[in-house]
């Protein structure tokens, strides 16, 4: 696999409005978001609405499990009731089996919320990777360093077998990001990890969009090599500041227009996305490695009046944990990647634990269809490194790095990420300790539907791409 393929970065993740009304011109309008100016603002539209519907589901009672609830608690011999696609009850006392419900005996097994991967390229850097992808991959729009106008969902190959592998690893929600070649790489999309024939049918209803930004080596080498801007780190920062200045001006004109002043500005797909960030509707995800790069970006965000929701990769987050605390920014990290590029030279395995110990948000991520099958193992490795460094980290805490914390990063913690009553029934029953290399996801539920069952071939969906292979019988 080419190194360039490994250096992908994501950009956006902001709230999407639900389906909007249509006017005579066929434009959809959504009266959502803080703008208040309402349905005339182009960045409030939802032109590609989610068509997701939960798969057929059955009320389920899981009994006798060791439960890590994602909200920091651990329960032994606990029972969990899923009804109408929601978490209804979690208790160490007996829960009567509702009529018509299925009971799963989970004695000796572990239960967690569905795993959330906030940095995946499943679908936009899809298997099979071909010689044509090597020339022009769908993961980055390589023609310009500033492409907030592109949307990752328009690259998604829903038949990428990586989705199924991730599902078998307990992943129920993914954010798919554009790559990291560009300063502003485009919008992300948040998906429910269900098999589907269109990307709209996977889109997490109401999930905020995100935007993928990249600092450091990737943009400056990608474009500097071509003799183009940016060719330096200072060029990277100048490019980002200029983009936000233009977007702020665009946003002002639109706000004036809807307030009855001036003529209607021209629509601009690039500036729409950045205006959505300035409105607080769209979240920001920054591919950055070095502490000095990240500290600079914190200042850029203050200057331009937006929030950095997460630094992704962030291998030097451990050098500046207090900045993550002060800016309410999450460090989205690996357990042990280092050394493959200069800005990753200082990666250490205690990164997650040290940032966590300072009180900042930590999330594990994959950026890889292989690692994306083992995010709980990632959390376990990071936990173990922290313990070896003398920190006391409980499993019920470390599980938040792959459940509730990533839900917060995506702005979806009211819907998923923990096993609290009323939340979506996104649940994994594990064969054992989820941090162990030997453990498998036995059953995976999304909105209460059993989307994967390790013991039942009929609940092991395969993508179209994998049909027709000569026998895989052993």
């Amino acid at each position: 696999m080419k190194l360039a393929a490994l250096l992908l970065v994501f950009a956006l993740g902001a709230p999407l409005a639900q389906a909007g009304a249509r006017d005579d011109e066929g434009k959809s309008h959504v009266a959502r978001g803080r703008g208040g100016a309402g349905n005339a603002l182009p960045w409030k539209r939802d032109p590609f609405p989610s068509t997701y519907r939960p798969l057929p589901r059955q009320d389920t009672l899981i009994v006798g499990a060791t439960v890590l609830d994602g909200a920091g608690h651990r329960f032994e011999h606990a029972n969990l009731l899923l009804r109408d696609g929601k978490i209804v009850a979690l208790s160490t006392r007996a829960i009567p089996e509702p009529a018509g419900a299925t009971t799963i005996d989970a004695k000796g097994r572990w239960v967690t919320p569905g795993i959330i991967d906030v940095h995946s390229h499943d679908g936009d850097f899809a298997a099979p990777f071909t010689s044509l992808d090597a020339e022009n991959s769908d993961v980055s729009e390589g023609s310009d360093p500033i492409t907030p106008n592109v949307w990752a969902e328009h690259s998604i190959a829903v038949q990428d077998p990586s989705f199924a592998r991730a599902r078998a690893g307990g992943v129920t929600t993914l954010q798919i990001l554009p790559g990291s070649s560009n300063l502003i790489g485009g919008r992300s999309v948040v998906l429910k990890n269900v098999p589907a024939t269109t990307v709209q049918a996977m889109k997490f209803p109401g999930a905020p969009y995100g935007v993928k930004f990249a600092c450091g080596e990737n943009p400056k080498y990608t474009y500097g090599e071509k003799g183009r801007f940016p060719s330096s780190r200072m060029g990277n920062v100048a490019g980002m500041r200029a983009a936000f200045i233009e977007a702020a001006e665009y946003r002002s004109k639109w706000l004036d227009y809807v307030a009855g002043h001036g003529k209607r500005p021209d629509d601009d797909l690039k500036k729409d996305t950045l205006a959505g960030i300035l409105d607080g509707d769209i979240r920001t995800h920054w591919h950055c490695y070095r502490a000095d790069d990240m500290a600079t970006l914190f200042d850029v965000a203050k200057e331009a009046h937006f929030h950095i929701d997460a630094f992704h990769h962030a291998v030097e987050a451990y050098k500046i944990p207090q900045l993550f605390v002060a800016n309410h920014t999450c460090a989205v990290v690996w357990s042990d990647w280092w050394g493959y590029k200069m800005e990753a030279f200082d990666g250490i395995r205690e990164n997650a634990a040290f940032v966590d110990a300072a009180g900042a948000c930590v999330t594990m991520h994959s950026d890889s269809p292989w690692l994306g099958q083992r995010l709980t193992l990632e959390a376990g490795k990071a936990l173990a490194a922290g313990r070896r460094a003398g920190l006391a980290i409980a499993p019920e805490h470390a599980i938040t790095w792959v459940t509730l914390n990533p839900a917060k990063v995506l702005g979806l913690d009211a819907q998923t990420g923990s096993l609290e009553a009323g939340k979506n029934a996104d649940v994994v029953v594990w064969s054992g300790d989820p941090f162990s290399v030997y453990t498998k996801a036995d059953q995976v539920f999304i909105d209460g539907a059993l989307v994967y069952d390790r013991a039942d071939p009929k609940r092991q969906p395969r993508s179209d791409f994998e049909l027709g292979e000569p026998s895989m019988a052993k």
Partner: protein, 400 residues
Amino acid sequence: MTGADGGRIDDATIVIRDGVYDSVVAKAPPPAGARVIDAAGRTVTPGLMNADTHLGLVEVASLEETRDYAASGGPLGAAFDVEYALNPNSLLLPVALADGLTRAATSPTASSDPAFLGMGAVLRIQPGAETLDRAKAAMYASVGGLEIKQNGGSRSAQWQLMRNAFAEAKTYAPPKSGAGAPRDQVQNVLNIAALHAMLEARMPLAVRAARESDIRQAVALADDYRLPLIVLGGAEAWRCADLLAAHKAAVVLDPEANLPWTFDELGARSDSAALLARAGVTIAFSVSGNTIYLSHNAGVAAREGAGLAVADGLPYAQALQALTVNPARIFGIADHYGSMARGLDADLVVWNGDPLEPASAPDVVFVRGVQASRITRQTLLRDRYAPQHAQDRWPPAYRP
């Protein structure tokens, strides 16, 4: 766990003398005058071996001035030999060692005459300049995949050119002084001499291949020239496991590679290790991890891969052999490394838990009877930025 034939001895006393294993006996008293390490309740294994890395040949993967695993210009094809580039001061070696890795095969990835990549070496990971364990441990080649364009445009061209190279090498005689190379040969004199020496020495042929058809071609070629065969990657090797076993071919596989990532790997599956081992194929591990694990995390990744193989059906004892005695045999160092047999190099690790759990770590590491430091550049950064320094008023640069 002695590494040999799945041997497990409880409450063992392991005696190391003069850098080699002396004895491993249950409940034996320590010899008089020996330094004693109490490992009660803990697992001890031989030092582990990763069967495919670029250790000693890379520092920062994206910086060409720190990469030595590819010959990108000049006449070197099969003659490219990585041994002259090995860097015993590489910062990656202490990291691997602190993860329990004491040996590693290190391989070339490209030469000027594909499909041959050149010759690899075996490292012993120990402080000091004596890093090279075995030079010219195997001749590497790569077929199929996304590199066909650079390699003759067709898999057939690749195999025909490799066969031609061996045919030329077989009849090659080193030139008398003043005489040039034979005329009308495809291989230049450097490469044909290297291949000739390879055939004479029966050096293993290590073929990076994923598709079943290429693996079968590799078996046929190695068979024709009576060369030991190592299949690297081998996503579809399970489809011809019996053939590989019959020809005593080995497979170095990545247990994490379960996706149909390219058209060569459509048969990739999670339980390849178990299927191959059940058929009697000698297996060893190398884990790519997006190429990042390959060298930079060569120790922890090999253990994690072995653990995943166990989770998918490989017996535990065989997984441990795939990290020790199997790669030792495959790469020709089993006469001095690979198990706790008397007289073998005392590479040894005392673990704080199950060695196949990546969350586990060594407490004690010995290489050739000498206890190794577990300090790495990463542990120095860890100590410099540990949370207890949060209130320090002097910058971290003033700390060790």
